[in-house]
Symmetry: C2
Subunit: 478 residues, 2 copies
């Protein structure tokens, strides 16, 4: 296929992965820069991916009994300060409202960087008895963090996310919730986004400000860097005590409830791009693709072509496929490149000769594989092919993860493996922050997580040689 100017404009990923990424974000019309530094416009095509993510995840949350609500976007400074570790983590990157209307405010208000404090204040007023537990809440909103650097989807000053906040009568129930929601995230990433994950616990250094434990799913991008794709936090009763949330339990005693929170954001779209994309642009997993199949009429103005193309599109729509037909006045070649750039999983070409023979051409975006298909088989074949693309993307990403995860016995070996190959380096670890800091300083890697699926790689910490406590993954992260 002759490539047109549009496609030629994107940088090859092998030449400059970062530039390739930015090119795809812009040329696939996913996102755009706004007039305020670090704040982005989610364009319709990018936002439509988020809408699909929302629809699927929201149903998964509700199926587990969670309810949505909406809290205010502004937090009084005194409220943010109620939990010491939390404010230390977030206050340095807050945006502050100091003027309302014509008046200087008596107390400044920050735009939520996350909403634990607001939820806790609300919980304090609505949780009085064991009958009021559990509370299983979730909110879809945007949050603001005044970052110094930014990249489309990966690091914004304002980004879209969901934040779950739950309260439980027992420690065990809250821990189960924390684990359950991490599993929901892992299930979603693997089965809908075709992104294989490593599940594990964050180190104390890397955990959420104010949490007792943070669990995370970590993914590997095409350039072998790590992306934290979702986190689930267990708070114990720390916030409950700080916010004086107490209730009368079944034994008529005053108790503090146990808390969790969990979040997942639009950075996942960055993950999709960097996991599946190629030098022709975006490649979307069919289950979240806004358009799953695009119909391209060939020799569009020949009699009967457009009618036949529309009939095929309508048949597939009726079969539950998300279909688009491109009737614009561009050449078929231009359209092929355009929809490849946008990562549409399947392309259906239909021209006068095809119509005569009651067939069409189906092309897979992931492999480029092309086949002639009888028109009357479409309803059967298209769902099968979409599943095949979905599975193919997962298998390829899984291979990337497996092939690029290496054990190391020493800091030197870890450093060499990262420099030569990249990927995840797994070592034993003593549990000390000093060793994390040394790994960062000398090998440029942060700890990603202590996987739930532990392996015994030896007796000693690869960094300091002291007795090891855990196997841990290291990587260079987005």
């Amino acid at each position: 296929m002759a490539k047109d100017k549009k496609v030629e404009q994107i940088t090859d990923m092998e030449t400059d992965f970062a530039q390739w990424y930015t090119d795809v974000c812009k040329k696939a019309e996913l996102i755009d820069y706004s007039g305020v530094k670090g704040m982005f416009i989610y364009r319709p095509y990018g936002y439509a991916i988020w809408e699909n993510i929302q629809r699927i995840l929201d149903a998964m949350f509700k199926e587990k009994g969670h309810e949505n609500l909406y809290m205010p976007m502004l937090i009084p400074e005194s409220l943010l300060q109620k939990e010491k570790d939390h404010v230390e983590g977030f206050a340095p990157e807050c945006a502050w409202v100091t003027v309302g209307g014509q008046d200087k405010l008596e107390e400044r208000l920050c735009i939520r960087p996350t909403s634990e404090t607001l939820f806790c204040e609300h919980f304090r007023y609505i949780i009085h008895s064991w009958r009021d537990l559990p509370k299983l809440y979730n909110q879809w909103c945007s949050v603001l963090r005044w970052e110094k650097t930014s990249r489309p989807f990966l690091r914004h000053r304002e980004f879209l996310w969901q934040e779950g906040h739950t309260m439980h009568a027992s420690q065990e129930e809250a821990m189960r919730e924390t684990e359950q929601q991490l599993d929901v995230y892992a299930d979603f990433c693997e089965n809908y986004l075709a992104m294989p994950v490593v599940r594990g616990q964050k180190t104390d250094k890397e955990k959420f400000s104010g949490a007792e434990r943070t669990y995370a799913i970590e993914c590997m991008m095409h350039d072998r860097k790590a992306l934290q794709a979702g986190t689930s936090h267990y708070f114990g009763d720390g916030f409950s005590r700080a916010f004086d949330i107490h209730y009368t339990d079944k034994n008529n005693q005053q108790s503090f409830p146990f808390q969790t929170s969990w979040g997942l954001s639009t950075r996942l779209i960055g993950g999709i791009i960097m996991t599946h994309g190629d030098n022709n642009g975006l490649v979307l997993p069919p289950r979240v693709a806004p358009t799953q199949l695009v119909v391209i009429p060939v020799a569009m103005h020949k009699e009967g072509v457009l009618d036949a193309a529309r009939a095929v599109a309508n048949r597939l729509k009726d079969a539950g496929i998300r279909v688009k037909i491109d009737e614009s006045e561009q050449s078929p070649g231009w359209k092929f490149a355009e929809h490849e750039m946008k990562g549409v999983p399947l392309r259906l070409e239909l021209g006068p000769k095809d119509i005569e023979q009651a067939q069409c051409v189906l092309v897979r975006r992931d492999s480029g594989e092309k086949r002639f298909v009888a028109l009357d088989e479409l309803e059967t074949l298209v769902p099968q092919l979409l599943e095949a693309v979905q599975q193919g993307l997962f298998d390829k990403a899984k291979k990337n993860l497996t092939d690029n995860t290496f054990p190391a016995q020493s800091l030197e070996e870890a450093k060499r493996l990262q420099e030569e190959n990249g990927g995840f380096i797994k070592t034993m670890w003593c549990g000390e922050e000093a060793c994390e800091l040394r790994m960062k300083e000398e090998a440029g890697m942060s700890s990603r997580c202590m996987p739930f699926a532990q392996e015994h790689l030896g007796e000693h910490c690869a960094i300091c040689g002291k007795p090891a406590k855990k196997m841990i993954y290291w990587g260079v992260a987005y």
Copy 2:
């Protein structure tokens, strides 16, 4: 039915309509106050109504070709100032961010009170050719207006809404869009919320800051006050020129596109409460009710009751009804009152005797009408009853609107009618703002709209006696 304590707590609407309204908002657990003045917490039950509104409206917008996107929440002061009338209208009630992280900002940023300026800046970068038109965009988000007073749902400093923003090649097309979207709003209000509307044009005094024309739908609440339920604005090319958005048209000329915007917010939930509610609490139109039917097992712990109740609930769920079963350890009487307060359209009671006779009791929330129904007729009867409730609510609200709309020939008559009865007063009007101001000052009424369905009530303005230009509606508004 003996009323329990819970229900006794709400004020009768005849005693104090405002207090009744606040009581319903709180006791039906729709909304709560937050720690920041004028900012509210949309609780799960209230938010679930909004989710239903969103789902239905979003599909209506998309069916007309609109796409969703998401713009940043912060607007630089210089951008807000680009259109003179617009900034005059909105700047006085903006909340301003002046500090980001540790630094004082060079230019202060306001939290969006509405997003015309942000959309225009984006349009400037993406509209170059006639091929780029129309742009049909919509955004679901929250906006902030630093109001001095507040009431749940009706006036918040932060509220949830949708804002549509479109750009067109011709004046005619933009006008058609403005009208079409007002019709979408009217259709939605009447057919889903059971709220009859008056469609018309706002006066220059009442139109949106920066618009050439504003169309609105006006509803009448149970207390005969007016609620503006949705607006649709036509901007001409005013913003296009102010923001220098131009494109090459089909004749290779530089042109400015024509613009619209339209918005509808969570204040509609306030409208639902004040249109349909009664002294037992909320009454929800079935088409947006989070729960359409609640199953109450009577003598719940008798053998077989809970199983039978669950079986009925599941059958109705399978039939597409939004069903809840209340298995809590409360008396049936408590549960009846609770779900009446929450406005659930239908209640299904099922006890041991009913089970023996293969029947149950169905009670309509709107009329209190009670009937025995054979269990095997439920799948047929429940959808019919829900439709009957929906229609019944609309008819009652329509009668309230019709019965309380009066023509007047003079300011004195208008004033007397408002004082004695309330409602909408329709008069002829000369078109001068001076007469609007006099009506406000002397009769306490603002102009609601100049209905599209004009009537000829006379030759002269009811206020000044000069030749009349339009028939206009007056009222006391929320």
